[in-house]
Amino acid sequence: MQGFWRRFLRNPRVALGLLWLAFIVALAVGAQIFAPVSPFAIVAKPFEPPLGDFLFGTDSLGRDLMSGLIHGARTSLLIAIIATLAAVAFGTLVGALAGFYGGFVDDALMRITEFFQTIPSFIFAIVLVAILAPSGTSLVIAIATVSWPPIARVVRGEVLTIKSREFVQAAIVAGQRDIAILLGQVLPNTLSPLIVIGSLLVANAILIESALSFLGLGAPNLMSWGFQIGAGRPFLRDAWWLVTVPGVAILLTVLSINLVGEGLNDALNPRLRDL
């Protein structure tokens, strides 16, 4: 375990990623303190350029861009994390059942998983949000629905290899119930690949959320980075900062999560490091 933390934290890419993530998480948690005024409130003239009274200027309605960025961090992270947790829970359930029981259950569940991997997932997410009506909950449902298949496949693969190991066979012989074996013996051993994929899914969830919000499918009462870009887009010619700044925020956040996720992967599987 000590070796893991040393390998993980000594990686400069991980350190950079963690630094930015810590900053964003602090902003998201303390959004009310750092930006007490509602991000939808009109505070000044429209199109104030950056570095004036407001660090990143104001948008077409005179809303403070910085305040929107801070509250947007909260929206993006919250939706991405909840959606990923839901996807991990569902994917783990499907993968564990398929891998553990095999046979017909496995066939049926894997066909369904493949089906969800085949259909164009972003279009499916759009259809889902459009039908459920745009809201935070719809975003979470849509993102989770298109994100679980890779989790199910990985968990199934892990369960298949772990199932044949001696300690699991021993638990079966000892007469433990299926659910106890799954929860107590099998699933804890699938944790490390789950953590890696889960972290990369958070990055993906942020990208999906921002794209949906950009298309006007975001939660109407929540400020988000994708919404800011969508709102600034008609003024690209004259107010470049409205589109550029929130995009950089998305880029840096997704990049940081990817770096940390890859660092986790390297640290958990030291043998793969040379790839």
């Binding site: 997932s121 972003f122 459009a130 459920l132 470049w240 995009g247």
Partner: protein, 327 residues
């Protein structure tokens, strides 16, 4: 391989695709059930201003007074006979609306697929040749950044740079409608409009394939056939280009085939940024008009498209790699 066996393989793949297509139809039906109001109001385009008699007529036609299972059978039968309904917003049946938008999307996707595979393979190859040098690091850092950029934002940034600031390329559309170009001039005009959208759509995949290509190339280094080639006295250049490149290409082709669905999803965003008149923009417009039936039709047709392209990629793969035997 004999053409009879190839044909048998294609037929088998088509049969395997049937449950997927049926699944999408059932999924569409379930989504319709989820929507507020009954299916008739949704099919009529909600606020689309469909006459009340039409809605009544729809209720009867879909048997909405009958059990859900009967409704499902009705729905499946309609879709499978390619009756995707009518869009009041556009005053046209859904199917021709979608088909008219198909080829611009195919053009954009095809171009993006080509750029991403070609760019990814070249960059990944170079990174593997220059492994652990500063050039390798530059490629990998650029790839990691490209991997994290939201598509729609890349598009807007490219517009800002190449259209607004430099004024080199057009901002939107597929051709200059006012110019009435014909023949080659029209082709060149469309090509100029195609540059920014296709680059936007391919950046993410260039990064993905470059990383994959680099990893596979490095994997190949230690394999026996490389040692054999080296023992034969081939130069490193010959080994890399004639032997390793061909083997490393296969995983990229596989992944490129798998990514077609996500490429189609990405094109929705890219088309709405560049006002590219394809399926994605139609989806975007139907969102705003709350024309759910049109949206479901687009989802159905694009799923069929993905299934078809997947089969096509598998067939190409089969022809490329003689080691794969058809069972």
């Amino acid at each position: 391989m004999g053409s009879a066996r190839l044909l048998r393989y294609v037929v088998r793949r088509l049969l395997q695709a049937v449950p997927v297509v049926l699944g999408v139809v059932v999924l569409n039906f379930l989504l319709l059930q989820l929507a507020p109001g009954d299916a008739a109001t949704v099919l009529a385009g909600e606020a689309g201003g469909a006459p009340l008699e039409y809605i009544q007529q729809l209720r009867q036609r879909f048997g909405l007074d009958q059990p859900v299972l009967v409704q499902l059978v009705h729905y499946v039968k309609n879709i499978l006979t390619l009756d995707l309904g009518y869009s009041f917003r556009n005053a046209s049946p859904v199917l021709p609306l979608i088909l008219a938008r198909l080829w611009p999307t195919l053009l954009l996707m095809g171009m993006a697929l080509f750029i991403s595979v070609a760019g990814g393979v070249v960059l990944g190859l170079l990174a593997a040749v220059w492994v652990r040098s500063w050039k390798d690091h530059v490629i990998s850092v650029v790839a990691i950044i490209a991997y994290a950029m939201p598509l729609f934002w890349v598009g807007l940034m490219l517009i800002l740079l190449f259209s607004v600031k430099l004024d080199w390329l057009p901002t939107s559309g597929m051709e200059d409608a006012a110019a009435f170009y014909e023949g080659w001039e029209r082709v060149i005009d469309i090509a100029r409009h195609l540059i920014l959208p296709s680059i936007t759509l391919s950046l993410f995949y260039i990064a993905l394939y470059a990383r994959l290509m680099r990893a596979t190339m490095l994997d190949q280094r230690g394999l026996e056939y490389v040692t054999t080639a080296r023992a034969k006295g081939l130069t490193e250049e010959q080994i890399t280009l004639r032997h390793m490149l061909r083997n490393a290409l296969l995983p990229v082709v596989t992944v490129a085939g798998v990514q077609v669905g996500s490429l189609l999803g990405g094109s929705v965003v890219v088309e709405s940024v560049f006002a590219w008149p394809g399926l994605g923009q139609l989806a975007f417009q139907s969102l705003f008009a709350r024309d759910l039936n049109l949206l479901l039709g687009i989802f159905f047709i694009s799923s069929c498209l993905v299934v078809a392209v997947n089969i096509l990629v598998d067939v190409i793969y089969l022809l490329l790699d003689p080691r794969i035997r058809v069972g």
